[in-house]
Amino acid sequence: MKDLKFLAEKMGLGHICGSTEREICGCYAGDLLSWVMSHAEYGHIWITIMSNINVVAVASLCDVARVVLAEGVELDADALEAAKKQDICVFSSKLSTYELCTLVSKYIDE
């Protein structure tokens, strides 16, 4: 388990919205939403390049800890509004999904 704030700082993530108070126990990367719902677990960071409002619904429903938007992707305006309203924590990064996964792997056990 690792504190999200610590991980976000180490990984150089940009904080978009939502509370950063949460423990992280792993990571799931994927863009097909049903696949994410099938495999992402409570306490995972979810790394994706999807930016529409359904990302917020999926993050909320499957209780992933936080969403990280890879490759410099920005949330759509309605998605950002919904994320703020539901207090879903979202970060952004210019790094690729692969690079982000390697950083999670490096720092989660540090």
Partner: protein, 141 residues
């Protein structure tokens, strides 16, 4: 059936992905208020969301009834869409008839019905071509 069973009703708009999931999020909130375990809440929320999305993609919307009993939570999703031609095929992971524009939103992976089955303890599909589909799911509590 208990006289004190709690029931919720939701209308799901067709072809509106911006509000798809609203009913599931609301049910999740209410189950949390009622004190259900995180595992039960997650299973109900995901199964119902997949059902909602299916109704938006394939059936121009529909309705969801949620009944909270002493032993289980039942979700009844009904639509007047085209019906499912081959249920066995539709239940296979990866099989999808969703259009490309749906896939660009992150759906259409062919995991909807399999996820609904995976996260529930019982699932029945009643479907008739040209008439509609009703999916009944139960999650034991």
């Amino acid at each position: 059936m208990s006289d004190e069973m709690i029931r919720f009703h939701f209308d799901v708009d067709g072809d509106d992905f911006s509000s798809a999931g609203a009913a599931s999020v609301e049910v999740k909130k209410r189950l949390r208020q009622l004190g259900f375990s995180p595992d039960v809440i997650r299973r109900v929320a995901i199964a119902m969301y997949e059902g909602e999305i299916n109704m938006v993609i394939h059936a121009d919307g529909g309705t969801v009834e949620v009944e909270i009993g002493d032993d289980d939570i039942t979700m009844i999703l009904s639509d007047h869409g085209p019906g499912i031609a081959n249920v066995e095929l539709a239940m296979q992971e990866g099989y999808s008839t969703a259009r490309d524009n749906i896939r660009s939103l992150g759906f259409g992976a062919g995991m909807g019905l399999p996820n609904m089955k995976k996260y529930t303890d019982d699932m029945k599909i009643e479907t008739e071509i040209g008439v509609g589909t009703t999916v009944i799911m139960k999650v034991n509590v």
